[in-house]
């Protein structure tokens, strides 16, 4: 104990002398790293701006498609069967990639709220790794399927139909696709598209007005419309994600800029202090002679 304090005392004056230099070095290292981070966020913003432009263009094509595929469900007034066993299926449309604000969290939160109510009879399909990462810890048992490699490239109809095919293997009485609906570059809302079982559609009150239907037609119709709805939701999600990433990266660049300003100021001030102190040391040394 005694030895230690002695050692400290011995070292102290030396440390004080190099203290100013050390902080100067530390500040310049920090400044450099923040500058690098700003460069990275700036280029990520540029990349997502380009990706966003494409996603938005494609979304404009997909909107009439998605709205068209929802028309039948709205107009035939399908409602979930009440007496059936409540087996719920939730599809979370997210992606693998982060650094894009709260897009994935809002989708996962909507699903978590549903799971909080009834986690017994609810199953979750995660499209994209992010929703799995968020939901896995509390509701790992409820996840029946995860789709990977989402978000690197724009979603295609083939991706959607693959998910739809796997989804149709699971039985459910009611369902929901939870996705982010793109509104503008700065805003999106978390929305839902309801899904229905074949039995619910066959019991729809207005199905009677539709002519010449057999169960095979309905079955194929539902399978295809599930794929189109998923495709539409994925397109909306991709567009919201890119726009949100753009805003997030823009903010990050701005924050890095602020930090750089502050650090430069501290750096200059410390440098000045070091110079002044050295001068004082030289002058007082000279006057002591």
């Amino acid at each position: 104990m005694f030895g230690q304090t002695k050692l400290l005392r011995l070292v102290q004056p030396q440390q004080q002398q190099s203290c100013g230099m050390a902080t100067l070095k530390a500040i310049s290292i920090r400044l450099k790293s923040v500058k690098n981070i700003q460069k990275i966020t700036q280029s990520m913003k540029m990349v997502s701006a380009a990706k966003y432009a494409r996603a938005e263009r494609e979304l404009r094509q997909a909107r009439p498609y998605g709205e068209g595929s929802q028309q039948f469900y709205e107009k035939s007034e399908v409602a979930p069967l009440e007496d059936a066993k409540p087996e719920k299926l939730l599809i979370a449309v997210t992606s693998d990639r982060g650094l894009c604000g709260a897009v994935h969290t809002t989708v996962s939160r909507a699903i978590r709220n549903e799971l909080n109510e009834d986690s017994e009879n609810t199953k979750v399909i995660c499209v994209g790794d992010k929703s799995r990462a968020i939901l896995q810890r509390l509701y790992g048992k409820n996840i029946i399927m995860v789709a990977n490699e989402v978000g690197r490239k724009p979603p295609t109809f083939k991706d959607a139909s693959k998910i739809a095919q796997e989804t149709s293997k699971h039985n459910f009485t009611t369902g929901k696709i939870v996705y982010n609906r793109f509104k503008s570059v700065v805003s999106y809302t978390t929305s839902e598209i309801p899904l229905f079982s074949v039995a619910a559609i066959e019991a729809a009150p207005k199905l009677g007005v539709y002519d010449s239907l057999d169960s095979e037609v309905i079955q194929s119709y539902i399978e295809f419309s599930l794929a189109s709805l998923l495709y539409y939701a994925m397109k909306e999600g991709a567009c919201s994600e890119q726009s949100s990433r753009m805003t997030a990266m823009d903010n990050a660049s701005k924050n890095a800029g602020e930090m750089i300003d502050k650090l430069t100021l501290t750096f200059n001030r410390t440098r000045q202090a070091v110079i002044t102190r050295e001068l004082i040391e030289i002058i007082s040394g000279a006057s002591a002679l």
Binding site: Q61, A62, P64, Y65, G68, S69, Q71, F72, K75, T156, F157, S161, K206, V209, Y210, D211, S212, L213, V217, I218, S220, Y221, F224, S225, A227, S228, Y231
Partner: protein, 163 residues
């Protein structure tokens, strides 16, 4: 052509029946709100057209305004749209759905659709022969079914270009 004539006849028969109900519910008389969209392209979005002929698994049929509500599944083939100003547009579709609702709105949603004039005959014939080859060399039922669909679509493409 004969099928169009038949469908027009049956449609006009249904038209008179649909008129009776049309007075009670809100409809746009003699106006059809037509949407033809595919995953790759949107051709019409809630536009008014005169007539649409679609190929479906339960047979090809024509749709006029106030058609009886129905659902159908598309078969690979050509959709013919007769626009209000008399122009005729032919679009090839691979698969998809047709929805005709009570308020005379029609949604044709295809997996993939292209105008017929964009299709290339030699490429289509090549695709057909390679599809036939893969059908012949198919090992299990799944492969055979996939190849059969390929052949059917390729045949429809060739037919759409030549006919």
């Amino acid at each position: 052509m004969a099928s169009i004539g038949r469908s027009v006849r049956s449609a006009s028969r249904l038209l008179s029946a649909a008129r009776l109900t049309a007075t009670s519910s809100r409809t746009y008389a003699d106006q059809m709100s037509f949407t033809l969209a595919a995953a790759n392209q949107v051709f019409y979005a809630n536009q008014s057209v005169k007539q649409v002929d679609v190929p479906s698994f339960s047979g090809s049929f024509g749709i006029l305004a106030d058609h009886v509500p129905t659902l159908a599944v598309l078969k690979p083939g050509v959709i013919t749209v007769y626009e209000d100003d008399g122009k005729v547009k032919k679009v090839f579709v691979s698969s998809g759905t047709v929805t005709i609702n009570e308020d005379s709105s029609v949604q044709v949603l295809a997996e993939e659709a292209h105008p017929v004039e964009n299709l290339d005959l030699s490429a289509a014939k090549e695709a057909l022969s390679s599809a036939q080859n893969s059908l012949a060399s198919a090992k299990d039922d799944k492969e055979r079914a996939e190849a059969a669909i390929e052949v059917e679509t390729a045949e429809a493409v060739v037919q759409a270009i030549s006919g």
